[in-house]
C-alpha cells in the first residue's frame, strides 16, 4: 500500500502552498502527495516543483480548486500505520507520530496571565524543536490560539510551513463565535480529531 500525504493549501498566500508541498514530499520516502490549492499561481508553482524534482504530477480541477497528485519513488510501498483513513500519513523519518492537544489557550493554574505567556512561549519553543509534532489539535478555549488576536500566530504559521498539521475544533469555534476568525490551519470535526488521536504514537495534552 502506498503512502499518501495530503496538503490542503487552500487560502494560503504564495509561496506557502509550494513550501508545504515540498515539505510533504521530503517527508515521505515513496508514495503520493496530494495537494489542494485554490489558485493558478499555487497550481503552476507546485507543478514546477514536481517537474524540478523529476516527479510525475497529475492535475485535476475541482470546482474552483485544483488537486495535484505527485508520485514519489516509483510507487514503492512503505510500511505505515493502519489508520483506515484515506489520507493516512507516514511518521517522519526522524521521529514518532506525536499529537499535541490544547484544551485551553493558557497553560496551568492558577495564574492566568502567566499561563498566557507560557502557552505563547511553548508554541514558540516548538518551532525550534526537531522533530516537530505531526499534529496540533485545539479544543475548547484552545481555539483562541489559532484565531485573530492570538500572539501565538507567528509561531503557529511557522509550524504550519514546517509541515505540522493544525486543527481547530469546529464546534468550539462556533460556540465561542470565532468561526470567521481562524487565522491558521483548518477547521476539524470530532471524528477526524479522534482519528488523529487514535493513530498517534504519543499524545501530549496541554492546557
Amino acid at each position: 500500500m502506498d503512502t499518501e500525504l495530503r496538503v490542503d493549501a487552500r487560502g494560503l498566500a504564495c509561496p506557502l502552498p509550494v513550501v508545504k508541498t515540498k515539505k510533504a514530499i521530503e517527508n515521505i520516502d515513496s508514495g503520493k502527495v496530494v495537494a489542494i490549492v485554490d489558485n493558478t499561481v499555487a497550481r503552476d508553482n507546485i507543478m514546477k516543483l514536481a517537474q524540478g524534482l523529476s516527479l510525475p504530477v497529475d492535475v485535476v480541477a475541482d470546482g474552483t480548486d485544483f488537486i495535484l497528485s505527485i508520485m514519489k519513488g516509483g510507487g514503492v510501498a512503505v510500511a505505515e500505520p493502519e489508520t483506515g483513513s484515506e489520507a493516512a500519513v507516514l511518521p517522519e523519518r526522524s521521529g514518532k507520530n506525536v499529537v499535541i492537544l490544547f484544551q485551553a489557550d493558557t497553560i496551568g493554574r492558577p495564574e492566568q496571565e502567566l499561563g498566557d505567556v507560557l502557552a505563547k512561549s511553548f508554541l514558540y519553543a516548538l518551532t525550534e524543536c526537531t522533530p516537530t509534532p505531526r499534529t496540533l489539535i485545539f479544543l475548547n478555549g484552545g481555539v483562541r490560539l489559532t484565531c485573530t488576536g492570538s500572539e501565538a500566530l507567528p509561531s503557529l504559521k511557522t509550524l504550519e510551513v514546517q509541515g505540522v498539521e493544525i486543527l481547530s475544533c469546529g464546534t468550539c469555534l462556533d460556540y465561542l463565535e470565532l468561526k470567521g476568525e481562524l487565522e491558521v490551519g483548518t477547521v476539524s470535526n470530532m471524528f477526524s480529531i479522534i482519528e488523529k488521536l487514535m493513530a498517534a504514537d504519543k499524545v501530549i495534552t496541554v492546557g
Binding site: 509561496p15 506557502l16 503552476d44 514546477k48 524540478g52
Partner: protein
C-alpha cells in the same frame, strides 16, 4: 489604468505617462528640465536598514533612467504605531544614506500610521532637456546593455520562507541596494540613445515597453542575459512570485519566445525586479566601450540584445 486619465498636452512636459516611461520630465528653462518620480513598497528584507537602502536605491533609479541627477528627496513612510520606533529609524537611516551617496538632499517627508510598513521616496532631479534619456528613442542598429543580473523576485519569494541560500541572497541584496548612478555615468560618457530601468514588469515587460515606445523590434539573446546565481534553481522549486504570472499573461501575445524554452527561464524573463539595473540602448559601435566603462566601475553588465527595424507580421520583442 492610466489610459482613463485625461491626456496631457503641454509643450513643457517632455515626458509624461503616455510612453510608460520611468518618470515625468518638465522643461523649466531651455537648458534645464525637472524630473519627478515616486516609488515605495512593503519590506522586502528583514533588516530595516537594508530595506531602507533598497527602497531608496529603487526610487532614485528612475532619475538615473531618465539621464538625470537627483536633487531633492522626500521620505514616504507608512508605519504601525505599535512597532518599535527604532525599526523606523533604521529604515530611514538606510534611505538617507543612499540619498546622500546619490548626491541628493533628503529634505523631509510624510508619515502615516498603517498596519503594514511601507517606505520609499519622492525624488526630484534635474537634467538638460537635450540629455533626457527616454525609453522611446531606441533606434535600429542599437545594442541593448543590462547593468544588473535578474532574479530578485524569485529570491525575495524564497527568502520569505527561508529557502534562499544565505550567500546567494547576500549577493542579490548588495545588488538591490546598489545605486544605478555609476552605470548612468558610464553611459553618459559613452552616449546612449535610450534608457529605462528594469523593475516590477520584469525584463520582458520593460524591454517590450521600450520597443513599443520606440517603435522598433528588439531581439534578446537568452544566453546573454545575466542571472543571479541560484535563481534558476529557485524557479525549478516553484518559488515564483504571483507577479511573474501577471507579467507573462499581459505580454503573452506580444512576445515571441523560443520553442522549448524551459519554464525556469521563462520565469526569469518575466520575474519582477526590485531595484533592477538600467537597460541602455547604445549604437552598436559604442557598445564595446560602454561595456568596458561599466566593467571598469565594477558593474556586472552584459550586452543582451539588438534593436532592429519593425517587421510586418512580427512581434516587437523576440527572444532567441
Amino acid at each position: 489604468m492610466l489610459r482613463d486619465l485625461p491626456m496631457l498636452s503641454d509643450s513643457r512636459l517632455l515626458v509624461g505617462h503616455e510612453t510608460s516611461d520611468d518618470a515625468a520630465v518638465y522643461r523649466l528653462r531651455p537648458d534645464l528640465a525637472l524630473i519627478q518620480t515616486v516609488d515605495f513598497f512593503t519590506p522586502v528584507v528583514d533588516d530595516p536598514f537594508l530595506y531602507g537602502q533598497i527602497a531608496a536605491a529603487n526610487a532614485l533609479s528612475d532619475i538615473y533612467a531618465m539621464g538625470g541627477s537627483p536633487l531633492l528627496a522626500l521620505n514616504i513612510v507608512c508605519f504601525p504605531s505599535c512597532l518599535d520606533p527604532g525599526i523606523l529609524r533604521d529604515i530611514l537611516c538606510g534611505g538617507a544614506q543612499k540619498v546622500k551617496e546619490a548626491g541628493g538632499l533628503l529634505a523631509g517627508g510624510h508619515s502615516i500610521d498603517d498596519n503594514e510598513p511601507k517606505y520609499g521616496l519622492a525624488v526630484t532631479g534635474t537634467v538638460k532637456p537635450e540629455e533626457v534619456w527616454s525609453n522611446a528613442t531606441a533606434v535600429p542598429g542599437d545594442v541593448l546593455v543590462l547593468t544588473k543580473p535578474i532574479g530578485t523576485g524569485l529570491f525575495l519569494t524564497a527568502n520569505k520562507v527561508d529557502l534562499a541560500s544565505e550567500d546567494e541572497f547576500a549577493v542579490v541584496c548588495t545588488s538591490m541596494a546598489e545605486l544605478n548612478a555609476a552605470a548612468a555615468k558610464a553611459a553618459r560618457e559613452v552616449g546612449a540613445s535610450a534608457c529605462t530601468d528594469i523593475t516590477g514588469f520584469g525584463l520582458m515587460g520593460h524591454v517590450y515597453e521600450l520597443a513599443l515606445a520606440s517603435q522598433v523590434l528588439v531581439q534578446i539573446y537568452l544566453d546573454a542575459v545575466p542571472l543571479f546565481a541560484g535563481a534558476v534553481d529557485l524557479a525549478r522549486q516553484g518559488l515564483v512570485p504571483a507577479a511573474t504570472y501577471r507579467n507573462r499573461d499581459s505580454l503573452e501575445t506580444k512576445v515571441s519566445l523560443p520553442p522549448g524554452l524551459p519554464a525556469s527561464m521563462s520565469d526569469l524573463l518575466f520575474d519582477p525586479q526590485t531595484s533592477g539595473g538600467l537597460l541602455l540602448s547604445v549604437p552598436a559601435s559604442q557598445s564595446t566601450s560602454l561595456l568596458a566603462a561599466l566593467r571598469q566601475r565594477g558593474i556586472q553588465a552584459a550586452a543582451i540584445g539588438e534593436v532592429k527595424a519593425v517587421q510586418p507580421d512580427e512581434p516587437l520583442l523576440k527572444v532567441l
